[in-house]
Symmetry: C2
Subunit: 450 residues, 2 copies
């Protein structure tokens, strides 16, 4: 009898789990169910469709139907998992026709993802208050943007900033409101976030930090928001206040949750129930630096966890090493990226590290080669071990790959001197002799030694 | 009495030694002497001036006169060191006026660099046979290019390829002749070099590998070359056959040479003579992977060794960790970079490693985001330890920073699984969810486990 592998969810984690399961077990019956109309599309691409960088939402659908045929994956869209019966190893599902049916599994993989968190702001149910998670929601925003003149984005995380960029690209007057004291507060220290804010403001987007939205105004349709007594007019209010793991299905089935209220898993992506795996935005990850539970909820984490879950669910062996939260984006012509801990998070009570940081602003090419762009690199180290624990970069180009280098440095326990003396490469059209990441690292080191 | 630091040579290693010495000892008297007319310019920029990417040779002079004043560095151009007296701690120098004088030192730093190696080809003394090491030579080539219709480049190393690119940019019909079986034979395996050759040929440059130049033809002025019986016409023959350490001065002074015939130094850049340091193209380096002596002769190595030499010469403490030979360039619209050992060098008798490699061609951005470019990544690992020992990348963009990530992986002893499961970052405009470096690494790992 071929192994029955059932995957609930068919996005980043789900499709990677399915592909890895197929490569591990060529005979298995692999079924993916999703309650969405579209399968396996890039959520991270949505803001860039709205900005006009990507022609259409349909471009985001990563795999053509032929891929599912070739990999022999049975994909069922518009299909909702209602309940899991872990003892009987079945899942009750409901199709578009509202007919319910029971599906058997030998291995079950939960990749149920996350949903937008909607803060309890007065007036949040008005027309024109939108959030962005699915293609459907993207299409609503796309329609709303055609008529809109003014937008308020609530939340200055990655999606908030990307949406502010999209609005600005379409000549919509935009204001960002962030309750915490700076942009990208989860991944940047305030000094680095200030660079981001200044770049955004140069593009005529207003940024309000350290203040919350008290009320969303309007009579049925949104007309604006109240922020600390000021009325800011808006045709669109985009809520980008983070996401929450979708774990009701798992919880109802008695699967254990972690300290972060997401599904708890082992290194092999096993849940507390036999033969049930989970991966992606719905699970709790482990921070590689602190060893503590954390929520990663990034596309890169989802695909890598999905692969591990798929291999194990199909009888193979693979482990997931934990997360560092490496993330990047490009908006308003500049890039911003980060990995590991910010200095403020590292120093905070729960983690409680003594840190030192080094920061440098340098160009990506030698001064004499036209076209180099400025980047600012900040490296955070733990003082006693002198190990790298975080990196943040804001600048014109080459941020993503530099973040990856710092991420690997953290993963491998590199000290400030390892990174400061790294054997980097150089050629005038692509890089300077002194790599800014190495220089920032050295500066951090010198602060300890002095 | 302030410490007297004398530096012979004022380019990459020399100027970095001087700057580091000044930061270490604010009172020292620091003097740099160079036999060139121009101080501290970027040699690596020369081909890109000739290609028209950089407006003029003068742009390559990295530090203005004001820098030397600010750092209180006594720079003497057109000044030649004749002999070193290590016992008396003096150097006999000769200025432009041919007057000789004796200079005292407490610490001496040799950054005498390298010179072009000119192979013993018949006819190499003809007019129009050129090489590129100095601004003067660059200017000669620049003049020759104004009249030239056809060029032959002898040697397909980095400078050879960059010069072929410069000639092609100026519509000079160009042929590259490389004696070894492929382009960039020191840093690429043949499979990766083939990608480079194909890209170059797409730009109408002819590439002949595995054949040497038998004779340079012409009556006084060069008219062509003979390659395996074929006459290839040329107005310019550019010899780019590597460089040789300039170590006569050190050798005459009784300073010990290494197995590579370059100056032997400690981790602190100390030569065999007390208080004499050396750095850059004139010294022997240690390969971080094999522990063996090697010649690095790269700009990045020179600046980093110069800094270490400068700190130590000024009474500080700094060590140099060895080299991996990370190198990169950008020609004909694509980038090529490498670090560590190629598979062929790793397997060769002297090193004798059993290796496995993984290779992948992928795009730098998701398929759905316009503008992504193809890159091919090859990762070489040692079979038993499963550690990364080398990486090669050819492609449209983002090569330099990926090479740096692989270089750090080698430096920190990362295994194929460490790199294969690296926590990389992603956003549609800058990177895909699966980083090609990680995928290539995983492919290498799977070859071992199967």
């Amino acid at each position: 009898m071929p192994r029955k592998i059932l995957i609930i969810g068919a996005n980043a984690a789900g499709i990677n789990a399915a592909s890895a399961a197929r490569k591990t077990d060529r005979e298995a019956e692999i079924t993916l169910i999703t309650d969405e109309e579209y399968p396996a599309y890039s959520r991270c691409g949505l803001p860039f469709v709205l900005a006009g960088d990507i022609p259409s939402f349909e471009n985001l659908i990563i795999f053509p139907t032929s891929y599912y045929r070739m990999m022999r994956l049975d994909l069922r869209t518009d299909t909702k998992a209602k309940t899991i019966n872990p003892r009987g190893k079945t899942v009750l599902v409901e199709g578009k026709d509202e007919k319910q049916k029971t599906m058997e599994y030998d291995s079950l993989i939960l990749t149920t993802g996350a949903e937008s968190f909607c803060p309890p702001i007065k007036g949040r149910d008005k027309d024109g208050v939108l959030s962005l998670r699915t293609i459907e929601e993207g299409k609503h925003i796309h329609d709303a943007m055609k008529r809109a003149k003014k937008a308020v984005v609530v939340g200055a995380g990655f999606i908030g900033l990307e949406m502010a960029h999209a609005f600005a690209e379409k000549n919509i007057e935009t204001t960002i409101v962030e309750m915490l004291p700076c942009c990208l507060p989860a991944v940047l220290d305030e000094d680095m976030a200030d660079l981001v804010r200044r770049e955004i403001e140069r593009h005529n987007v207003r940024v309000i930090v350290g203040k919350g939205v008290d009320e969303i105004l309007g009579d049925g349709r949104v007309t604006g928001v109240f922020v600390a007594g000021e009325e800011i007019p808006a045709d669109i209010v985009l809520l980008a206040c983070g996401v929450r793991a979708r774990n009701e299905l798992a919880e109802k089935a008695g699967i254990e949750m972690g300290a972060t209220r997401a599904i708890k898993v082992s290194h092999r992506m096993e849940t507390s129930m036999p033969d049930i795996y989970a991966a992606g935005d719905c699970i709790e990850s482990t921070d590689m630096i602190t060893g503590r539970p954390t929520l990663s909820q990034l596309g890169t984490t989802a695909v890598r966890q999905g692969k591990v879950a798929g291999i194990n669910a199909a009888g193979g062996y693979s482990i997931f090493p934990g997360v560092l939260g490496s993330a990047v984006t490009r908006i308003f012509g500049f890039e911003v990226g980060a990995t590991g801990l910010t200095e403020s998070r590292a120093r905070a009570g729960r983690v409680g590290l003594k840190t030192v940081s080094g920061k440098i602003t340098a160009k990506t090419k030698p001064e004499y080669f036209p076209g180099g762009k400025e980047i600012t690199v900040k490296i955070v180290i733990e003082s006693e071990s002198e190990r790298i624990v975080g990196g943040q970069i804001v600048g014109g180009e080459g941020v993503a790959q530099r973040i990856n280098m710092i991420s690997l440095a953290i993963q491998k326990g590199a000290t400030v001197w390892d990174l400061g003396k790294a054997d980097t490469c150089y050629a005038p059209p692509v890089a300077d002799t002194w790599e800014p990441v190495a220089l920032a690292s050295e500066l951090a080191g010198l602060k300890i030694r002095r």
